[in-house]
Symmetry: C2
Amino acid sequence: MNQSNCMVAQSGGPTVAINASLAGVIQGVMDSDQYNICYGAVNGVLGILNENYLNLTGIVSEDAGAIDRLKTTPAMYLGSCRHKLPNYKDDDSPYVFIFNQFAKLHIKAFFYIGGNDSMDTVLKLSDYAKKINSDIRIIGVPKTIDNDLCVTDHTPGFGSAAKYIATSLLEIAHDTFIYAVKSVTIVEIMGRDAGWLTAASALARNEYNTAPHLIYLPETVFDKEQFLNDVRNMLKHRNNVIVAVSEGIHDADGNYITASKSAVDTFGHQQLSGAGKALEFMVKENIGVKVRSVEVNVLQRCASHLASLTDIEEAFAQGQKAVSLASSGVTASMVTITRTSNHPYTVEYGYSEICDIANEAKSIPVEWINEKGNDVKPELIEYLSPLIQGEVSVSYNNGIPSYMNVSHLSHS
Amino acid sequence: MNQSNCMVAQSGGPTVAINASLAGVIQGVMDSDQYNICYGAVNGVLGILNENYLNLTGIVSEDAGAIDRLKTTPAMYLGSCRHKLPNYKDDDSPYVFIFNQFAKLHIKAFFYIGGNDSMDTVLKLSDYAKKINSDIRIIGVPKTIDNDLCVTDHTPGFGSAAKYIATSLLEIAHDTFIYAVKSVTIVEIMGRDAGWLTAASALARNEYNTAPHLIYLPETVFDKEQFLNDVRNMLKHRNNVIVAVSEGIHDADGNYITASKSAVDTFGHQQLSGAGKALEFMVKENIGVKVRSVEVNVLQRCASHLASLTDIEEAFAQGQKAVSLASSGVTASMVTITRTSNHPYTVEYGYSEICDIANEAKSIPVEWINEKGNDVKPELIEYLSPLIQGEVSVSYNNGIPSYMNVSHLSHS
């Protein structure tokens, strides 16, 4: 029997679109004449190291609505990991194990859906494959709410997070405007080193809502006195000032502006919390109006009920593209998206060599931020706006969304 | 000219359904033969004291979609206040001013949409009307996400908040289950002295999701050692433990379990924050697994994009009922809802004298909480479930919800 199978896994932090890319991979496999079974490794590369697999083409072929439900299910159906592979020159044992697993399961292509750190894994597996002359195709499929991957125009998961932020900001504005007393509301938004998601708060502005009135991004230096002056000036003209702030704002020396700090994660990133609280305290101590901070928290990356249809469709298409790339012989690459027009919004899918992408981060260009560093320019709004268009249709069962059953993940 | 007008205002904290009740009042006025103009006082009773009014029947008659858009717009279209009227025996000047305004504008009925504190205002205005032999009808229309008003089966705004909590909890569960490492997630939910909304987190449970695994309500005494044992026991059986906790949990002496406390508000309620953080620290210090806390915050009361259709329709009907009650001569009362059947779910609208409702609070019956005080019983789920059924249809414009223009509120 001359089987030809493939494998997919998911890694890094959750997004609303990462299962749409998984659904795209499965659909791509079912539509192709190259692969029989699509295996899913549970918990990223750890699933290979632990030999923990699901037969995804099998699951989907027995459940007519699975692809559609998967497209609107938050976080990782296959689970995730934050596992950094060693350099194979230092320790090739995990690589030997992984490629033995690939041989055993007749894997001809491996798809890894993830963000920056996951692309590091794609790069390392690709390098090892090249070293051992393996012809297994290794393809990365991007996702991250941070939108900070290089080369590609934007990343799956970002548009939905942006839609959640814009909608939530508008709803917080309605919540805030009701009292005729001076107040400041600080909304803290995710994005460690890139302010794309915080900038998306500007999409909440409409014919009556000018909030957020101030936006602070990690691409600029945060100055406390300038911030307090900005707030004081805004309070001259209106009762309720709403401030959008990235969790990653920092001073001129690069020190994060936070109320608290904790340990670094396994990739060496500092875990942040409290930029919102820090600004809340600044206003409380120096201006003295009513002030509160809102940390939007994990819901900005997992609220599938409010996903962007554009985002979900693009994520799905990029999963399909990964399969067609592998089928045509591409390897050591990541699927990319190119914006071919903004009016009307059109895109094309392609790929780029993984060595140009992994471990690099894309920030907002400074020319898209105003000179005072407290708002975004129209060019950035133009870039962001198409990404949040369209609403997904989520099914509800007994009052709550009907998502894919993930009971294979939740046990010990 | 023998005009007969009425007035409506909104007060207290925002909910997703309070504008549906306002829309119901306006619709009720337009459908009645008793009243000509429905005035809206801006910022609650302060709007009367400041002579700041909108002509609501005028606005709605010029905008065909206004009633439907108002039904799905969060917070208060008319703005709010937290203004406590003095006892008229101590100081009748605001009452004299208010009833002079009523006379000047030919007001025959006044509708006040709000929660516990607003019903205190309804009671005081009713008492004063009786003292001066005014025949102006004073009717309260309930709302509060806390669901803690007496006499009525449940309050408008609660069902939508409950749907938001249940959906968010399910999405947080998907977000949490992805890592195959032991973790504890604490979700802090609003509700100062009544645990109804925290209890609604149990509606997130479905065929694969058993979260929240522990629920702590303000109706029971919170014991730190018992909590830590509960968490340790849960961690024996599963990787990821999710805890739903009310902001109002307290020890045997009534001291709130919080990480921080601040000043009391104008009604003497202690403003709480940090029960989630407090439990996070307890787990961190005593158990040592990965732990995080999520404060759902203001979005649970203003996320109109995820409103319960049942809630919105009932809120609208209670606004209409208020007008018909006033038309039939009822005064000094609040609209109530009675559940006539749970399978199928049916309700009837009525009223109750305001003196039986104001300044009283309804807690969860202890027989609906399990003996260990860490979960709810099926009877409570039965009570809650019908209230989150059905999804509203929100229109989107340029990627964000199309709500009512509230520019009359946001300026200084």
